[in-house]
Amino acid sequence: MSKFRPIGQFKAAPDGSYNLLPFRFTELNHAQFVLSNLAGEYLVANRDDIPDLINHRLSPEHPLYIELRARHFLIDEKSSIAPELLAIKLRTRYARLAEFTGLHIFVVSLRCEHSCPYCQVSRQSEDKVRYDMSPSIASKAVDLALRSPSQNIKIEFQGGEPLLNFGLVRDIVNEAKSKNEQVRKNLNFVIATNLALVTRDMLLFCREHSVSISTSLDGPRDLHNANRPRQEKNSYEKTLAGVSLAREILGRDQVSALMTTTKSSLSRVTDIIDEYRVQGFSGIFLRPLSPYGFAVKTKTYEAYHASQWFEFYKQGLEYIIELNRAGVEFSEYYAGLVLKKMLTSDDPGYVDLMSPAGIGIGAVVYNYDGYVYASDEARMLAEMGDHKFRIGHVLTDDYKSLFTSQNLLEPLEESFAFSSPMCNDCAFEPYCGSDPVFHYGKFGDYLGKKPQSEFCLRSMSIFRLLISKMEADRYVRKLFTSWANR
């Protein structure tokens, strides 16, 4: 794309032949390829048809030809407007990018009363108050969050366990809403909490200020409690009691849950999904472990390979599909994010699947000590002693200095997927992400070596799985389209 061909190359050929528009192709299976255009629209073609297409030998009577023309893979005398339509779709796809940082994570405390071995943040024990965010740091962070050009700002409270510093959570909500009267953003709040310490008063505050709750539920009681130890060995009971109370006060749709996959989870995906159903959740986000914090220290991260996780995911997705087929509405949210990118011109802005990377652009983290990090994973890497992605401090750096930090700009540029070997000619690139923090943590550079990257292996496996399922089954195509358009 750095050079332009003569304009005639993009005009409809007058003699009934066609010209190709830019696209990439990657193997789906031994007999088929996935083709994707610049806007991320895809088609599946038989392997044998690809050479004919590229060598301009594909007949207009071929069943594939009309699809290729309709989806802007080729242009002929009947489709002269295709380049303009492709450009519009591309602009739509990238429109959200200029909104810039929408997710602002406030780590209000590193204290926690759980001892989860996979914890990514090297939590501190409950009594170390010096690991709480101070009011002055919180106030500056609110200013920075509202300085973002994004019209939609989500402030997410994390920890440790943020309820251990609920007083500050309350102050931040009040201050943000007060300051927002000047800038008039769409302001949303969410608390990521284990719910073990939640009280009615806390939830009444949340209801008054439209603060929603995101908690952790790893599966049935035995699995959850094994994954998430508490001194009283009652994390599961505490979580469910908290969910029940939160739903009673806030409403069902204001309470969500996330699970983390450990080695113990791998053989239990249907149990985990059934637990979510029994507890009244309408979907689940099946996600793997990340290589940070206690997850590395306790070797929980290395307990399974990406291929094992993928089998877990595949089994889970197939189970959810069959539930839907039997009339039970239940979604898999990670698939929903990917499908939105595959089947619509919209981009969900999911930080882990963005290129340019979501660091800074999609999310930013204000740590309890005032240091600012380019992403949640960057903060976790810092807890392991590596401050590569630290972009400044709220008390000493202004907005410009934070977001022009070389610790942000360099990884953004270096990890750009379109400039990366293998990614550059991968048909799945429009759906994928860069994740410089992951690759830096694993390989020591922002790009990594894709053939060795678990991120790449995992992502491509999921893309192939979703497309294969849609191609093979009309019901699944319809179901996935409904997830994509949510």
Binding site: P356, F403, L412, F416
Partner: protein, 75 residues
């Protein structure tokens, strides 16, 4: 550097890369180290090439991402 050091020089036949191994290695291990080095050279070469070729697209998209922040200026 923990396995070998590389000395790169220009010669009539092109660029020559001499590898000096730190310790005595078996032929298999040496061969494996050389293969890794070749892959690394290829990877870095591709990165440079792609970085140059896609510079305009990359700059356009990154500029678009930062376009509303108000932190880029004509200074």
């Amino acid at each position: 550097m923990d396995t070998f050091t590389a000395e790169i020089r220009l010669a009539d036949e092109g660029v020559v890369c001499d590898l000096y191994f730190n310790d005595e290695l078996s032929e298999v291990d040496a061969s494996s180290a050389i293969s890794s080095f070749r892959r690394e050279v290829l990877d870095q070469d591709l990165r440079e090439q792609l970085k140059k070729e896609t510079e305009q697209v990359r700059n356009l998209i990154l500029a678009h991402a930062f376009s509303k922040t108000g932190i880029s200026s004509n200074e």
